[in-house]
Symmetry: C2
Subunit: 384 residues, 2 copies
């Protein structure tokens, strides 16, 4: 592995698959018409067909109808549209969990500043929302509950079936951010009464700049981006047909075999670290966990020091929240599961993708073992 | 040209240049880190550098500083952010022209419904806003004026220098939608006091799904898309680095020679049609006109019939507004310049791009000549 670079941070899933680009190329160089020209000429119809095939195929993977799938520029836009769109169409009370990704959490805070009432649900030490607590938090004027399918940092998969069922019974709309679970963890909107689902392409080796929002038929939603009448008049702006086609191909390429393989790699990391490195804590649930995620706190060392030393060895891993790496503030997720600053700052997240190998996993664990040992020897954060 | 397809509709400029994809590929397959990992490891720094180089290069073309350039998902998002962002940060009165693209026009109408006061400036028979009328429309509480650099349908280029100067003097913010002019028609924000400029990549053979908003330093703007702290905390969501790099390459590829060539092709269309086909009207200005646009009404025939017959000959052109082709309603632009329904419905727009040739132009004009002649022979819209 000497000289090679190993991506085991959140970029691991964002490397585009060559097959995705292959699928996009006809729409970049030959069938590049504008979809809204469909009434004008046959090239417009051909481009529109590419868009609608992509929509149908992505919708199908979720158990949805094509008309319930709105293309957006990515998961941030999808979550903004879902939450602002529903709240502005209905007014009332909003519930989100404490450990949502920023697209949800910051949207909730912005709405709160604008005068909406928002409740933030705490999570337990593994990151789970307590269904009973959700029942207690729902009020007569609650309009929407937004709880992620799985957490972006610690990988905990919520019991979406139970949570959506509670909302359904209370006649409250339910949104889930499935950015990290779509195609990796089953979700069927025919079986689970979820009303809005945020989807992303770049987390499954698809293109950046494209995502989608599933909106159950009949859900009241206020348009957030003005422009033409694209996307069932729910999202203005020229359709990104190559992006949609690439997204669809990316969805098609995720097979159950791959998810099993990712789980095996994930378990290799967790098992080897727990057996071979003392004083570690697995963050999140061992069982209800994203196939592609491991998150471990190495006590008495700084995560930033680990990432720095691994970087010098050509290895990319993350610490704290990806977004927060900019400010070095403690991860709101680790704090949310009851961790302290030491646990947050010592946390290292491993993210896996299609192109990671068993050899890479062993190389990364071997190196982290060495690095943690050395850092602990010189650490001022001594064990008592 | 038999058997070949000729794109001379708005798709002509959206065919991606192979060199753009070449520039993007390293960021799809090798340097695919997340830019916000810049503090974490060197791969993040490398990816971030790609993003910042792209930002710098695009900003430079506009005479802007890199820190004044916010990447978005495209021109619709840019115009939404500019107008909602400024109006929500300031409250007050908004002025737009009657013939803006829908991203601006529908944003204005949405704000109007939300209680903002909006004035719509009429245009003259060539599509120009009258600077004196702008002076008269500006009120004490006017916050923002949004007037496009050039029109999307009839190609009329506004006297942006005069309009921006008026706003500057009145201490009113000025936004211009430069979707169709960026790199094609000079605009230098060091010389012209414009505060916000909407830019798009797909109109210059760049990628779809990426655009930018120039925001002059110090302009108050409310963030519209929540997420992380990307884009100077003005636009959340994972950075689309391959898109930004492709956008930058697309900008670099537009040379003055090409703009001259497009003007020549445009003039060939206009001259040949006006000389060889009776009863036509050029829509828009002859002199102050986009290099890549011709828009002509063929009287006594339906534009829809022309596009249909040209389509059977493998030629794509547009009629009415691109977006309105969906509903077959009359173009708001042709109506805005004082046209009637007959003039709007008989209008055909020719859009040119890098890959159009002189041979194609002659082929298209030859065909439209035949088609118009035949349609007029059978037309119920007889000349009196």
């Amino acid at each position: 592995m000497q000289g090679k670079r190993v991506y085991m941070d959140n970029a691991a899933s964002t490397r585009m698959d060559e097959k995705v680009l292959e699928a996009m190329e006809p729409y970049l160089f030959e069938k590049y018409s504008v979809a809204t020209s469909e009434f004008g000429h046959s090239m417009g119809i051909e481009a529109k067909e590419g868009l609608e095939e992509a929509r149908k195929s992505i919708a199908k993977r979720l158990g949805a109808a094509p008309g319930e799938m709105i293309f957006t520029s990515g998961s941030a836009e999808s979550s903004n549209l879902a939450i602002k769109g529903v709240m502005e169409a209905n007014k009332g009370h909003l519930i989100v969990s404490d450990i949502e990704d920023f697209a949800v959490l910051h949207t909730a805070r912005t709405l709160e500043k604008a005068g909406y009432e928002v409740s933030y649900l705490p999570v337990d030490e593994e990151g789970f929302v307590d269904p009973d607590e959700l029942v207690d938090t729902i009020r007569d004027d609650t309009v929407l509950v937004s709880i992620q399918h799985a957490n972006q940092e610690i990988g905990t998969i919520q019991d979406i079936s139970a949570l959506a069922g509670i909302c359904d019974e209370a006649e409250v709309l339910f949104h889930t951010d499935a950015t990290h679970t779509f195609t990796r963890v089953p979700l069927d909107v025919e079986k689970i009464p979820v009303d809005l689902v945020t989807l992303s392409a770049h987390t499954i080796h698809g293109p950046k700049g494209i995502g989608a929002l599933y909106v159950r038929e009949g859900t009241p939603l206020k348009k957030q981006m003005e422009g033409g009448f694209q996307e069932f008049d729910m999202r203005g702006g020229l359709e990104n047909i190559p992006g949609a086609v690439g997204f669809s191909k990316a969805v098609e390429l995720v097979a159950e075999d791959e998810n099993r393989r990712l789980k095996e790699l994930r378990d290799m990391i967790i098992d080897r670290v727990q057996e071979e490195i003392p004083d570690t804590t697995l963050n999140g649930s061992r069982e209800q966990r994203l196939p592609q995620n491991a998150n471990i706190t190495f006590h008495y060392v700084e995560g930033e020091s680990i990432t720095l030393h691994l970087d010098m060895r050509g290895i990319a891993v993350s610490t704290g929240s990806a977004c927060f790496s900019r400010s070095l503030e403690a991860s709101h997720v680790i704090m949310g599961i009851g961790g302290d600053h030491e646990r947050a700052h010592g946390s290292v997240r491993f993210s896996l993708g299609r192109f990671n190998t068993e050899e890479e996993v062993n190389y990364v664990v071997d190196n982290i073992k060495e690095v943690v040992k050395r850092l602990r020897e010189i650490s001022p954060l001594g064990k008592e």
